[in-house]
């Protein structure tokens, strides 16, 4: 089984300056699987991905990729090892055109390969294709997200880190993207994905990891979790009003 592990967090402590977000976090991700990272807002999911991709330096612990410690490696090195990252929020170069954004996405590949692959990627995202020579900042929220996902796929990564791809995407596009990820996984790509769209994500994922306050609270097969009667309570709020202090928000306002 051991050589089946693609990514391993071993006792990682990481955070922003003196604010430690992840405290002795350990988990493993199987090669060729789609692993979901779940948890409430502020749990530290994005921090996990940022640490993995070297944007935050871990204070302690090891981060293993195929058994090799990659803690402290530069983004360029990580990309060379086949990892790609789609961060949360807006990550485009607004004043450059859509096409130029794609070109920069392939900067580690060289211009020739990039230009060959761009049309392939655009096939998945017709909206983006239509706007190829617009300024990136002029795109709608969802179009921008599509462009970002496309930009990462250009690299044909072996490991794809993707932070809430569904933000801003319309349902049909979400389905398409999920299907695409499944196809990639089937071809051997390891996908580590953060999602709040828990139900649909669980349906397409293999494994699920849940974080809370930077702590691992659960690591299960996605199918098991989906079948778990507690899932409603855990992730979906069960439809009732949240809030530790009790009382509804509305009453607070009145």
């Amino acid at each position: 089984m051991a050589d089946d592990i693609c990514i391993e967090f071993d006792d990682v402590v990481a955070g922003y300056k003196d604010f430690m977000i992840l405290n002795n976090l350990s988990f493993k991700v199987r090669r060729g699987s789609i692993t979901l990272l779940l948890g409430p807002n502020g749990a530290g999911k994005s921090t996990v991905l940022k640490t993995l991709f070297g944007l935050l330096k871990p204070r302690q612990g090891r981060i293993l990729l195929n058994g090799e410690n990659i803690a402290g490696a530069s983004q360029k090195e990580l990309l060379a090892k086949g990892i790609a990252f789609v961060p949360q929020g807006r990550n485009l170069f607004g004043q450059l055109t859509v096409f130029q954004n794609l070109e920069l996405g392939g900067i580690t590949l060289g211009t020739k390969i990039t230009h060959e692959r761009i049309p392939e990627v655009l096939e998945f995202f017709p909206r983006v294709k239509e706007r190829l020579h617009s300024q990136a900042s002029a795109l709608s929220g969802g179009e921008q997200k599509q462009l970002e996902v496309g930009r990462a796929l250009l690299l044909r990564p072996k490991v794809l880190l993707i932070d809430e791809p569904s933000i801003g995407l319309s349902p049909l596009v979400v389905q398409d993207v999920f299907k695409l990820l499944q196809k990639l996984a089937a071809q051997g790509t390891t996908v580590l994905m953060v999602e709040q769209n828990v139900k649909s994500a669980l349906k397409m994922a293999d494994d699920a990891i849940a974080l809370e306050s930077g702590q691992l609270v659960l690591h299960k097969k996605a199918s098991e979790l989906l079948a778990d009667p507690n899932i409603e309570r855990l992730f979906l709020g069960g439809g009732h009003v949240p809030g530790a202090a009790g009382g509804s928000v509305a009453s607070a306002l009145l």
Partner: protein
């Protein structure tokens, strides 16, 4: 139909050759929760921004409670009791979460001159604290909003829109990036405000469970045009909408 709260007629906005909004008309009734859905790039956000004075539409009129508000500034709209959230995160990054909420409502209390002598929190501290608790951001209440996670910032943004108790709130993808348990919370909040204060809402959202459960009526936009307006059940049953947007 003249008693509509918000009435948009023939709204158009083009960017060069791209007709982002191509003649949209709809009405929102007092006390209504009105959903807006549609594929990416169908012009929802552009429609919002035109209604809210953020951009100038090429054509069309917008009426609020029967008064023409076309071309009014966002400020004027806020004064007339229209609140909003943004699709992109828009918080005050270098202010604490609590101050973010306080500043969201303070300008609705007293005149500019009287505010010069008002207490620092304009007496809004309790209200802010209540919302902070409801949105489960108590532990970051004194952090600078810019250092919060994506979802937390989104929550701050939504909470801000409610601080001043507007009559009409336009929300652009409020659930994006928000944990499902809180999505339920937002839904309940809107319903409750709708019931108790007759608050009206226009919501753009790609989360169908949320929209279908919450909205009284839904408008579907495709390619800058209205494809359909109807109750959730009607929309769910609309073949065209399924093909263009919802899938399966």
């Amino acid at each position: 139909m003249s008693n509509a709260l918000l009435k948009v007629t023939g709204l158009k906005k083009a960017y060069g050759a791209i007709q982002a909004v191509g003649g949209v008309s709809f009405e929102v009734m007092p006390g209504e929760i009105f959903g807006v859905i549609g594929p990416n790039g169908s012009g929802k956000t552009t429609m919002f921004n035109s209604v809210l004075g953020q951009i100038t539409p090429d054509a069309g009129t917008i009426e609020l409670k029967g008064q023409n508000i076309t071309g009014l500034s966002p400020l004027e709209l806020s004064r007339r009791g229209v609140g909003r959230t943004f699709q992109t995160l828009q918080v005050f990054g270098k202010m604490t979460v609590r101050d973010n909420l306080i500043v969201a409502a303070q300008e609705h209390h007293g005149s500019m001159w009287s505010r010069m002598f008002a207490p620092g929190d304009s007496g809004l501290g309790d209200k802010a604290d209540a919302l902070i608790d409801q949105f489960r951001i108590r532990h970051v209440a004194d952090s600078l909003a810019g250092t919060l996670s994506y979802g937390q910032q989104k929550l701050v943004d939504i909470a801000m829109a409610f601080m001043a108790e507007p009559d009409l709130v336009l929300l652009d993808e409020p659930c994006a990036g928000v944990n499902p348990s809180l999505v339920g919370g937002i839904s309940s909040l809107l319903k409750e405000l709708n019931k108790t204060r007759k608050g009206s809402f226009v919501v753009i959202e790609h989360n169908m469970d949320f929209v279908m459960d919450l909205c009284h009526r839904i408008m579907v936009m495709v390619e800058g045009k209205v494809m359909a307006i109807g109750t959730p059940a009607e929309i769910r049953a609309n073949k065209q909408v399924l093909d263009a947007y919802l899938g399966n």
